[in-house]
Symmetry: C2
Subunit: 314 residues, 2 copies
């Protein structure tokens, strides 16, 4: 039996920690190739309120673009976003806005884009939490990632956001290499070798490959990217529901884990909805009905974020 | 300096082995995250003559389908293939035939498809070489894969064939897990949970995601699947040219390796062409002009296949 204090020290004793430890123990009997765990990113591994970190990055780039050319701010997608008006954003649609924002990086090589992400993350701060954005990862979840890896799990991050954005920081933040990041994929254009002796390369296009990585697309994309069905899936929103149901319905010991944002003192209190219903249902209600393990931030987490100056666990 | 006999025992002394060893030594100075190596599969890691192994698998399935329903043989794509007439196959087009063959597995879950591949590979034999198909891997290349892994490279297989076909056997044959197999990707349909209590799942569709994994698509797909540019790429045909050029043009020590099928005694003698030219050029001519390292099977390989009864290296 696993010693709980040794492996998940930031998880408080109780039914949730017991359920995690029971799963970890049971997974010892699972063949190596089936030990696959998938974690949503925004709101599951790090803070997503008041705005997605990637949106902060996009806005930073957009503001620089507007400084260079004020006319950029008149593009309808950007005008809606810059207005800060939720109704205006909803009217244009977040998907259309995301595609327009992706266009800001069109023509960049993958390496230059990754460098820009890392540069932003090195200095950006979370206004409300008064800490660097790169330290808004959840310590109890980092402990769970590390413990799964110690048990020879392949641990993937499955994000509704951009694959390449998360890949630029996933090794440093989570110890997760780029090939096991599953997200919304930007497409690339191939650039042949130039007459000037420059080699062939790739540049970002203003296109997404297929569809955004939410809902049932997370299931399809995990298969196409990772080639395996996870026995553990963790999420916090309606966009994670299909992934959690899929993992839970697999063979052998499985675990569907929902992070419940019920802590308005240390983080933000809110409940996602499972929009796949005709009538949106709180994701916590889906969890209760489905027998998922629910991690209450108030009840189950001794620590939420690393202390100031502390390095995130790898 | 690396001891050549310890690490690449099946490679004969000479300029080719020296070039591989020099690259291995130089790679010790490359940051871990940049140590990525990509190998084509057919004709680079295993034998592709007289026919692709995956085509043998397809044909096995097709023949079973025809036994169940002789009308299947009348479908134009299958009629061309079953005729064994190269001109008839060329007229219909290999891509259209491949898509029709993919349709034979539509509706299967990923797990059932993988089991069928493994079942086939467990017993199928190579008629001309008189050995199990699963032992037609090249021993010198397996040694190179193993040595790269010992040096903390992420080693991927980049195949023109089906991703899921190769994933079903890549761990056993090459020690390569499914998430680092890059190929032509079948799409999936999501199947919701059933009223009978069955869980949600995925079934294969008769569709390919994007385009087949050849030529410049190999470059794009390596980026989208692996998220990194390789510093070593190995191939044997015109379809690998773009991948080798891309790797060779990267920063730091790089290696483009071409397997030259010049051994008609132990294997098959043939030269692929780089079809991206208006006038197809032999890939060996491209290699000579580009300064790639060429592995001559006659000159450089002491052993081609494992001795009968020997297990392939992992």
């Amino acid at each position: 039996m696993t010693d709980p204090d040794a492996v998940l020290p930031s998880w408080r004793p109780g039914p949730t920690r017991d359920a995690l430890l029971a799963f970890l123990d049971a997974s010892a009997g699972v063949p190596l190739e089936a030990r696959v765990a998938c974690f949503d990113n925004d709101g599951t591994l790090w803070c997503e309120r008041p705005s997605y970190v990637q949106l902060d990055f996009f806005l930073d780039t957009l503001q620089a673009a507007v400084r260079d050319d004020p006319a950029v701010a008149q593009q309808p997608e950007f005008a809606a976003l810059l207005s800060g008006d939720r109704a205006a954003v909803a009217e244009v649609g977040l998907e259309r806005i995301a595609l327009a924002l992706t266009g800001l990086y069109a023509g960049l090589s993958p390496e230059v884009f990754a460098a820009r992400v890392r540069e932003f993350m090195a200095s950006a701060t979370h206004a409300a939490l008064d800490r660097p954005l790169r330290t808004t990862t959840y310590v109890p979840m980092l402990e769970l990632l590390a413990e799964l890896r110690r048990r020879d799990f392949t641990v993937g991050v499955v994000t509704g956001g951009g694959t390449e954005f998360v890949r630029a920081i996933s090794q440093e933040l989570y110890g997760v290499p780029p090939e096991v990041v599953v997200g919304s994929l930007v497409d690339y254009d191939y650039v042949p070798a130039g007459a000037d002796g420059s080699g062939p390369g790739l540049v970002r296009a203003a296109r997404i490959v297929g569809v955004a990585n939410e809902g049932t697309a997370k299931v399809t994309h995990i298969q196409t990217q990772l080639g395996r069905r996870p026995i553990l899936a963790a999420g916090n929103s309606g966009g994670d529901r299909a992934m959690l149901e899929w993992a839970a319905a697999g063979d052998g010991p499985t675990l569907a884990l929902l992070v419940d944002h019920d802590d308005d003192v240390r983080e933000f209190a809110y409940v996602g909805t499972a929009e796949t219903f005709a009538e949106p249902e709180p994701i916590t209600a889906v969890a209760a009905r489905s027998g998922w393990v629910v991690a209450s931030m108030v009840r189950d987490w001794e620590v939420v974020f690393a202390p100031p100056g502390g390095a995130p666990a790898g």
